[in-house]
Amino acid sequence: MSKKAVAITGIGMITSLGQGKEENWAKLSGGQSGIHRLTRFSIDNMRTTVGGSVDFVDIENLSAPALSHAMARLAILEALGESGLVQDGDFPGQLFLAAPPVEQEWTQRFEFAENVPGDGRSYTDILANMPEDREDLHDDFLYGTIADRLADEFGTQGSPITLSTACASGATAIQLGVEAIRRGSCKAALSVGTDGSMHPESLVRFSLLSALSTDNEDPAATAKPFSVNRGGFVMAEGAAALILEDVDAAKARGATILGYVRGCGEAADTFHRTRSDPSGNAIIRCLESALSDAGMSAADIDYINAHGTGTPENDKMECLAIENVFGEHAAKTPVSSNKSMIGHTLTAAGAIEAAFSLLTLKHQTLPPTINHKEPDPAIPLDVVPNEARTANVKSIMSNSFGFGGQNVCLILSSEPD
């Protein structure tokens, strides 16, 4: 039995393609890549030198939490502007924020080391010479601070939740909002995904897991989801915000409804820390539970916004799961990867791709999978290769699969039932 749909009345986004949904959609549907040579920090000695960093936001002291906060803010402002849902200056609902795990960075550690007289550079030396009146070094790097500052600025209600389900985080933020509205905890939710965590150490960490493409020559051609020569994902940054509302409440205030979340599904994989069960068990369960939650079948889905990271493993497993769940409809259902153009925005990806799915509904145009020059014969899907395509699209499945086995699937539709 289907559960009640939840309305979406505002979206905002920022990616390496630009700021705002109009610029992003124009470029995405035009098959343009936001991936570029990295200039924010030295790329000497790095195995990967390209990425989808967001370098056009003005920030005084750049750090992952500062950029993640700034991008989330911009996305929220845009979404709130569209939805018009503000009462007495406050947002009348709860905040669910998917944000990257943060910690002090090398900038801070170098500063700590400079405070130490003599040659010692151990944490004992650092702690003995650390100032106690530097609230910024404390508060800026707590996990709850970004949400706290957003809650202060936008007047959200209750305790804001900061969450991580790795690369599925943005979708989990939406799922938490849907659940809260369905159970009557609130009439509205602000679901946000943000990730501005590209710095030398994060790039090195993903490099060491052999997760990143090292195909550095032409940055715009690095991300090749579903291609036979795909070599990994491209790290990227961005944010998206979605205003979720109880359908009746949204209608009562005369809001323009952009689309509906019809269903959410999730499942945890126990196979391995960075790889999914070769049987596809967990992601199949995830897709099926989303369809079941929406009261829909695979035949009702007109388009799949893929997780499509471009790692050999992900794309193979995602194809397997789609074939399993969609059966004869698999070959007929278009599947494309936004990540071919914006890279993998990690914690933000699920929210950004849900926002792009809503724009897909609005424009009745499927964004392409670019750089698809050498199809993988093991992936016989219609990946909307290289160029956008107009289509009648009413219902979309959006997939997000995370390291650590956390999988989330959303069903978005232009109709509530």
Binding site: D44, N45, P101, Y123, Y143, R183, L208, G404, G405
Partner: protein, 400 residues
């Protein structure tokens, strides 16, 4: 009609001991024991460490043990205990419908690697290229995974086979509170029958002090009695805690008895610049008060030990009246940050099950009234975050 919410399994590890029985027994002697804290290892800081945990009982595979650092070990062991007590361990069908929600941090950096990098780059002006090379050489891939908060839940799924779903909340004290709150609300609203909820914190590390010390709340040097501590009065404590939160009808159907009933979790944040924690807490107390019997009740305070917050919370606790038997548990097991609230809920459940409260931990504080020979069937839990977030929970005795 909201469904009743039961606690049917508890795993608890702290400086007080391993498991609910050992923890409860340790608390019966009254006051504080020296072996619960360690003033030497990270001197001049004080910690409440978990000592000599045999991880192999709950994490049998060596590969799994190596994939995690201490805080993940504490969590995975506590999760194993809770699943075992609730009769879920090894039961594939039940594990498939178990939703995992954790509130935790991450980190646990390789302190030696950081030191090496800082030493090597000390005299280098253009640090960028050298930093890249050093990071590529010094960082271990497995360590990155052990540092990711969501891998805490990921590892619990892998070790214990919990496959229903997996969510990780971050954000210090409130993360632990909201993990419990969301599970509680979802069970009440029929959005799931079976949840494994918890957290863990490792205090025995210096990198976490590098984040907390600049906040001006970490204690150094001689320690004052808990409730009289100055602003720099917070001592961190290692804790691993998990609870199985279950819909009462679901537990009854599978023939499982409750440890206690979870009757309320209120979580909010005061804008501490504009308002106060105390005002918010008084509203929360007004919401739960109609559920209170006219009888002595326990109040487990999650006070972190920072002086200004201690004083403000004492003011609030005084308004609860003469029936309140307060215990500041941070005096015993330290401040477990994300794990602090779930650990006090676990302890409240054990107290409600025993229908008694343990002796005062800080007898010099008048609100820590004795509860000797009193029947205690309701226990409140407070949690004011060291930086933000205020919560109040209620756990009640239920006849098994």
């Amino acid at each position: 009609m909201a469904r009743d919410v039961w606690i049917t399994g508890i795993g608890l590890i702290s400086s007080l001991g391993e498991g609910t029985d050992a923890t409860w027994a340790a608390l019966q002697s009254g006051g504080l024991r020296d072996e619960w804290s360690d003033h030497e290892s990270l001197a001049p800081f004080h910690i409440h460490p978990i000592r000599d945990l045999d991880v192999s009982k709950y994490i049998p595979k060596r590969g799994d043990q190596r994939a995690m650092g201490p805080f993940m070990h504490y969590g995975a062991c506590a999760a194993g205990m809770a699943l075992e007590q609730a009769g879920i361990a090894g039961e594939e069908k039940l594990l498939g419908e178990t939703h995992l929600i954790v509130g935790c941090g991450g980190g646990e950096r390789d302190e030696a690697a950081d030191q090496t990098i800082l030493e090597q780059l000390d005299k280098t002006n253009d640090k960028g290229p050298a930093l890249n090379e050093l990071l590529l050489n010094e960082l271990r891939p497995t360590l990155f995974l052990a540092q990711l908060p969501n891998l805490f839940a990921g590892n619990i799924s892998i070790v214990h086979g919990v496959t229903g779903s997996s969510r990780t909340f971050m954000g210090e004290e409130s993360a632990g509170v909201d993990a419990m709150r969301i599970a509680f609300e979802r069970v009440q609203a029929d959005q799931g029958d079976l949840f494994l909820v918890g957290s863990a914190f490792n205090a025995a590390r210096r990198d976490i002090l590098a984040i907390y010390k600049p906040g001006g709340m970490i204690a150094e040097g001689p320690l004052a009695p808990f409730w009289e501590r100055p602003q720099r009065g917070m001592c961190l404590g290692s804790i691993g805690v998990f609870l199985v939160i279950e819909a009462a009808p679901h537990a009854e159907t599978r023939g499982v008895k409750p440890i206690a009933k979870l009757s309320g979790i209120l979580s909010d944040r005061a804008n501490r610049k504009r308002g106060s924690s105390r005002q918010l807490a008084e509203h929360q107390w007004a919401d739960l008060k109609p559920m209170m019997q006219d009888a002595p009740f326990g109040v487990l305070s999650g006070a972190c030990g920072a002086g200004s917050l201690l004083r403000e919370e004492l003011g609030f606790l005084e308004t609860m009246g003469k029936n309140a038997r307060v215990r500041g548990t941070g005096a015993a097991w330290g401040h477990g940050v994300e794990a602090a609230f779930p650990a006090n809920i676990a302890l409240a459940a054990i107290a409600a099950q025993h229908q008694s409260l343990f002796p005062p931990l800080s007898p010099e504080q008048p609100l820590e009234r004795s509860a000797a020979k009193e029947s205690i069937s309701q226990v409140l839990v407070t949690q004011w975050g060291h930086q933000r977030g205020e919560a109040l929970g209620l756990v009640e005795h239920v006849d098994a």
